[in-house]
Chain length 202, copies 2
């Protein structure tokens, strides 16, 4: 298991990107591999919206900045100062940007597994995202998943079909540095807890 363990432990949520472009064949390879992620009933409900327009990218970045500021209203004092100093996305620098959606209306998979827990389809999309995250890391490419946003606003900006559900924005590019620990831990926001504390028996 060790090469995979190393990969999992080396993966970071990246917010500091070089602006150097990515090889488009590499990007295609990441998307193709994501398509081998598990999906409930083989529904393959992930949909990727590549943000090609610079104007659209800037509107998305401005929207996220606004949402980050609003979400931060719950913090006071030292926590507020620390929150404001965190860089939470690389939407303006990352050379490749995707919005990820779940097609909640897909007939692929014939609704198997989507009746009792409809969220299972969204969970399938999460595993496609995670596949890209890990695969990118094997190539030295960093990814950041941006979820501080208002899905309805982003849906309107992107003009997606009505039954698509937004999972967030993915920033991809080469990171400015390799880090051994999560940025939120290095900055003193939160630390990693003992995994044993998350397991109980019944």
């Amino acid at each position: 298991m060790s090469a995979f363990e190393e990969l999992v432990r080396a993966r970071r949520d990246v917010r500091h990107f070089l602006t150097d472009g990515l090889d488009e064949e590499e990007v295609d390879r990441l998307l193709a591999l994501a398509h081998s992620a598990p999906s409930v009933g083989l529904s393959q409900p992930w949909r990727f919206v590549r943000i090609a327009s610079a104007a659209l990218r800037e509107r998305l970045a401005a929207h996220v900045d606004d949402q980050v500021a609003r979400a931060g209203e719950i913090y006071k004092g030292e926590e507020d100062r620390l929150y404001r100093s965190l860089k939470l996305h690389g939407l303006r620098e990352a050379p490749v940007l995707f919005a990820v959606y779940c097609d909640e209306g897909t007939e692929t998979g014939h609704r198997l597994g989507a009746i009792t827990m409809p969220e299972a389809r969204r969970y399938s999309c999460v595993m496609a995202i995670h596949t890209i995250w890990l695969a990118a890391r094997t190539q030295g490419i960093g990814m950041g998943w941006v979820s501080i946003l208002d899905p309805a606003t982003v849906d309107t900006m992107l003009g997606v079909p009505e039954n698509w559900r937004c999972l967030g924005l993915l920033c991809l590019g080469y990171p400015t540095s390799e880090e051994a620990a999560p940025e939120l831990e290095r900055r003193g926001w939160e630390h990693r807890i003992d995994w044993r504390s998350t397991v109980v028996s019944r």
Copy 2:
């Protein structure tokens, strides 16, 4: 990327297990690695409930059988016949069984990223599950994620805290066979679509 690509493509949703036990140190190693999955705000909200009681296992299996039958009421004719012939879980055979939960009330991570899209915490748990799935596969261990269940019923059976949200049941064990294609494709339920059909540009 190729070793990781191979791993992703070889992973299957397993429903046919040998009853041979797993090494408990191996199981701990999987859980420990899952703890390095990405989590929003470093909230680490995954909670694993190990099903140790044989009686509880049988109650869960009977519940899922019932939910599978109910969910199948939408199918007619040939589709109904095919649905009834599918084996959708290995809850009675798999030597290791977990329920996976998201602690929606955790203060770890100080709610960063959990205000605008609270589902991001559940998505973090999905990546922990996916980490176990892939790590298990590197050791020849198969996993099946069972999500055809009623979360409220399972919560009551397991007596979990009120703000824990159920993501499903994980069956782990050695598979009876290695398969190159998804079982739902081999059985003619659904086929893999072209990944390019899932990408659009804006």
